[in-house]
Symmetry: C4
Subunit: 195 residues, 4 copies
């Protein structure tokens, strides 16, 4: 099986997830600036989730780039990841509409954790299937490190939502920033073996 359609389907799903979230930002009926005020938390939660989905798209891109073909295991690990990611608009909307209430932050943290674990499962499926295991290991070394740190970060953010939603929110943002730092190992590994 080749990977073109898996990439195309995943790109389609991720593009739709990232875009339909904006439908949760309900258009206010009046034109006063005050009408936009309740929109602010929804907007902020949209911004956070947009960044997360963009990170997942980037990592997904990286990870499948090094592959030549896909197995059934990879297809289903990918579907599992897309399933959890597809719940992002719901959890984002719940958090935004309730002004980052503790319960909604906790659910969002659980979803981030589920996304993170699903990504690690996909990574393992790819490692198991990959032909060029050494090059892949070099490429994955930073992703593994970040994966571990962010899993711990999400796991901490979940109970901390009851202590203070601000701490959880700060952790969500911090984990996103960790992923945004460019991954030199992957770029080096990819540059060394040009397509």
């Amino acid at each position: 099986m080749n990977k073109t359609r898996l990439e195309a389907f995943s790109d389609g799903v991720l593009a739709i997830i990232i875009t339909i979230m904006v439908l949760e930002i309900k258009i206010p009926h009046g034109s006063d600036w005050a009408e936009l005020k309740p929109v602010i938390p929804t907007f902020l939660s949209y911004l956070l989730s947009f960044v997360y989905i963009a990170i997942y798209w980037g990592n997904h891109h990286h990870m499948l780039h090094s592959l030549k073909s896909v197995s059934s295991g990879i297809i289903w690990a990918n579907m599992n990841l897309l399933f959890w990611l597809s719940l992002t608009p719901f959890s984002t909307g719940w958090m935004g509409e309730n002004n980052f209430a503790p319960n909604t932050m906790l659910l969002y943290g659980m979803l981030l954790l589920a996304n993170g674990v699903s990504f690690i499962i996909l990574q393992k499926a790819i490692e198991k299937h990959a032909q060029d295991i050494e090059a892949l290991k070099t490429a994955f070394v930073n992703m593994n490190k970040k994966g571990l740190i962010s899993t711990i970060g999400y796991a901490c953010a979940i109970p901390l939502a009851y202590v203070s939603p601000i701490i959880s929110g700060a952790l969500f943002i911090a984990m996103a920033i960790i992923w945004l730092i460019p991954d030199k190992n992957i770029e080096i590994a990819l540059t060394e073996k040009p397509e």
Copy 2:
């Protein structure tokens, strides 16, 4: 006619179907956990339909992979399949919103049956058009078996919804599991003739 755009269009439609279903999970207005309770049946129906659409995507991928070109017959058999699949969000939402009431289970079963029959029609159109009929037959032997079993399964689930929605639901899940079991014949057939 080449198959690239047929695959791209089908991937687009399937990606949208699988993702807009999540819009049916209405965001509760309060932030209490109790507010999430009515969401549970919608979530479960979403999960079931997600798995079904994912299975159709996988089988669609398999089936078109072995093709080199497409005929008008294949294009319209494919459009017919996409039409019935596109009704999945409606039927899923009706089932979830009404807590798996018998009528909604019956309609869902009828839709699964329509999807299954449409898939068989597409398969026949492909068999008729295919150049390499022998390799295709080997690849399709398990798909035919599963197609027959699941068609019978859906047909039984329809009247059984009035006996007990639980039986119908169990049949829906069982038929999905049958399709999830990896299809060795196709993988062997594809591996033997690498691209």
Copy 3:
């Protein structure tokens, strides 16, 4: 400029148009069969529009297949077509929700006419740009014939909506059937010069 991204973008827009129309079929709140009754006209209007969008996708596919590159004129003629096609969910929904009332049929007929004229404009832009004018003319001969007939058909259906919506509806269906009849000229033209 190459045509790959134009095809990809058009496929994306057409896939979304064809799929979001299903969101107009509002999910009834109760689970009685009677609840589905008001859904029937929406469903029928969806079916009609699904077939029309599918026809446009097929013709679009045909027309761009014979091209090697695209000009600015083609890009904007294509955008114009996509704009009118994107209004289909609105017009379809209005027609379905108002049980095929004359005004809604008239607007739908006007939209079909706008779509048809936009398609002819795109065809002219392609003819103007095309390198292999003879082969293209052979391929387009039936499309021109059908284009003329259906333009007349839509134009007649518009005022006839006030005489009887049934006549207009019959014309909409008849024009769709005309397009569904396989276009031998194109298939012959394409087969003669394999890619």
Copy 4:
């Protein structure tokens, strides 16, 4: 990293943005022509935004066409652009639903400005990364000129919304027309070096 998936993902997001905006044109419940009257401003705002997104798609297409590979910087500059563009349906809807009230025009102008600046940032990221800097500079010379003019245009339209929404609207339309004028420099640059 190759650019195929970046193009595919961007095309997906742009196709969805351009199409979901039509969902903001709420279907009226009655079938009288008078029912369509409140739809007119929403329709006009949709038309304007459709043209803008189409222009961005065209320019995006042009700009990435000249690239051979993409860097992390380009990926994130592109994500930033897609983020601001994804807010278009919200701002369009607010403007349309409030009949082009000054505040809504001001916000729309700010969004156009944010889109324009994001596009310039992406352009800079591409220039920084590009291998063939001379050819690119020739291709970008008109885009730079238009970018500058339209940035000034949007910046003027923002405060002028309080003087008269009509002036702002005229500026929005004028800036769109500037972008619609074919970009000879790019076409020449591309034609001179065929793929």
